[in-house]
């Protein structure tokens, strides 16, 4: 207990004596965590949105001729034989017209001069939820195009592909910012601790002469690094949370954020980022301590 009290007191003393020096790594850690966590937050939300879009996928086969009631079982069997399907909906020209009319609501008058036959009949194919692979969707689309009277297939796979590219790009940004986080934390903390050690060279030398143990000299410096990791990442995450709250309050509603259901990190992930920062800063401190303090 006495030992712990001494270590904590010594850490406090160190921080008081060199308060200006640890301020820089604290700021660096805060900004690095903020930057990394910002991109990571967008990335995780994009992944979630991508998964949701995959769940809602629908393939529409536009036909150049109405499908008669007799043709439907045959077509349905052909489609189900190709792959697992949740449901198949046949939409006639008049049904398509009725839908469009309903969607236009008060502006449905613009359809008055157009007859109900101007929209093509179609088959809406809803694959099972597990069909979220772009290649499989493309194969399914190609198959649907071979159906009798099929004129065009709309799958939304192009849009999904572009979304996938963007998510991949974001993954690269997250990896880069993560690397930056690792480098900045370990090196800056290590470098600052080196400065601290140099500025306290005289005191450390006297402590050695007085028989101070390795733990007495090293632990407060290690604790300093840990505290920088904890405080820096806490501040970074807190800043991100306020930024998130600001964005969520400004952009919530039926727009972009509603579509993506933008959410903050779960507590476990927040804790993991915090822990990773502490570990990185501790490693940085340890590196300097081992290299620059001779006991």
């Amino acid at each position: 207990m006495q030992f712990l009290a001494y270590i904590l007191r010594q850490t406090g003393k160190n921080l008081r004596q060199t308060w200006g020096t640890p301020a820089m790594p604290l700021l660096t850690v805060t900004l690095s965590v903020l930057l990394f966590a910002f991109f990571f937050l967008i990335y995780t939300n994009m992944l979630r949105a991508s998964a949701r879009l995959g769940d809602d996928i629908r393939l529409i086969v536009y036909l150049d001729q109405e499908v008669t009631a007799q043709m439907r079982p045959g077509l349905e069997k052909k489609i189900r034989d190709f792959g697992p399907v949740e449901k198949i909906v046949f939409v006639s020209r008049s049904e398509a017209f009725a839908r469009l009319s309903a969607q236009l609501d008060k502006e449905k008058d613009i359809l008055n001069d157009l007859g109900p036959d101007f929209l093509p009949p179609s088959i809406e194919v809803y694959p099972l939820k597990n069909l979220n692979d772009l290649t499989k969707i493309s194969q399914f689309s190609e198959f649907l195009l071979t159906l009798p009277h099929a004129a065009k297939v709309q799958s939304g796979s192009d849009w999904l592909r572009r979304f996938g590219y963007f998510t991949n790009l974001l993954r690269v940004v997250v990896l880069l910012s993560g690397s930056l986080l690792i480098i900045s934390m370990t090196f800056i903390v290590s470098y600052t601790l080196r400065l601290t050690v140099l500025s306290r060279q005289g005191e450390l030398e006297i402590l050695r002469l007085l028989g101070a143990t390795s733990a007495y000299i090293r632990l407060p410096l290690l604790l300093e690094g840990m505290m920088q990791g904890f405080l820096g990442s806490s501040l970074g995450l807190a800043a991100l949370y306020f930024l998130y709250q600001y964005i969520a309050s400004r952009f919530s509603g039926p727009g972009f954020l509603r579509l993506f259901d933008f959410t903050f990190f779960p507590p476990e992930l927040t804790g993991a980022i915090l822990l990773a920062s502490i570990v990185l800063c501790t490693v940085g401190s340890l590196f300097s301590i081992r290299r620059f303090i001779r006991i």
């Binding site: 030398e205 006297i206 402590l207 002469l209 007085l210 028989g211 101070a212 143990t213």
Partner: protein, 242 residues
């Protein structure tokens, strides 16, 4: 505290110790010496005679080029880092250049020696007050070490060396900057430590006033070689022969 050389085991033993600094400066040459528990030993000699080197060798700030040094029965050449740390907590050293932290107060400088042993704040406070009183420094307690005179700094360095009630106290020129009154205080501190704690005290000095009248052993270093002091008393001769 008079010692009995026939029954005592030496606390410090040096056997044919030589220290050569690169490239070829011989600081200590073939020195053999036994320092017994509870003894007060004066090491005299001119500046550069090797007194400081000998002190540094005993507290393992330096390692010998040749020879064996044992402290409390432990060979210093085969002692672990943790062993050195433990040993230094039990040895008080007052350095010639004081080695104080100028920006810290007198209290903090002295307390530092006890803090590394994880002594309680209460114990540290009481001990520091006692030492300050013994060395007539009570009114300087909260002054920064850098603001003190050389003589006061020297006494603070001695107080720090004595803080843990060491079994061995090594004092390098402890009265070099002191007036006769302050010198008397230092001598009293040594006597106090020796009589109350049984501390062994080694004083390296070229100040004859502190060993002229002593009945304790006085050894002289001359160009790194150790010999009995030329003007020794019969008692001193007896001790040297032992």
């Amino acid at each position: 505290m008079p010692r009995d050389a026939s029954t005592d085991k030496p606390l410090v033993e040096l056997v044919n110790v030589t220290k050569i600094y690169p490239p070829d400066v011989v600081a200590v040459e073939d020195v053999s010496l036994r320092i017994y528990k509870g003894e007060i030993l004066f090491l005299t000699g001119m500046s550069g005679a090797g007194k400081t080197t000998l002190i540094k060798l005993i507290c393992r700030l330096e390692t010998p080029t040749r020879g064996l040094i044992e402290v409390a029965g432990r060979d210093l050449s085969h002692i672990s880092t943790a062993g050195v740390q433990r040993m230094r907590q039990k040895i008080g050293v007052a350095y010639q250049d004081f080695r104080l932290l100028d920006k810290q107060t007198v209290l903090q400088n002295i307390a530092m020696a006890m803090e590394v042993t994880y002594a309680s704040t209460k114990v540290i406070r009481a001990r520091v007050e006692e030492l300050l009183a013994l060395l007539n420094l009570s009114d300087k307690r909260d002054k920064r070490a850098g603001e003190l005179s050389r003589g006061e700094q020297q006494r603070v360095a001695l107080a720090r060396a004595a803080a843990n009630g060491p079994s061995l106290l090594l004092a390098d020129e402890p009265t070099g900057n002191l007036d006769p009154a302050a010198t008397e205080l230092v001598i009293n501190l040594f006597r106090h430590l020796n009589e109350k704690n049984g501390s062994t005290i080694v004083v390296a000095t070229h100040d004859p006033s502190i060993y002229a009248e002593t009945e304790h052993r006085v050894m002289t270093l001359n160009n790194g070689q150790l010999s009995a002091h030329p003007n020794r008393s019969p008692r001193q001769i007896e001790l040297f022969e032992a």
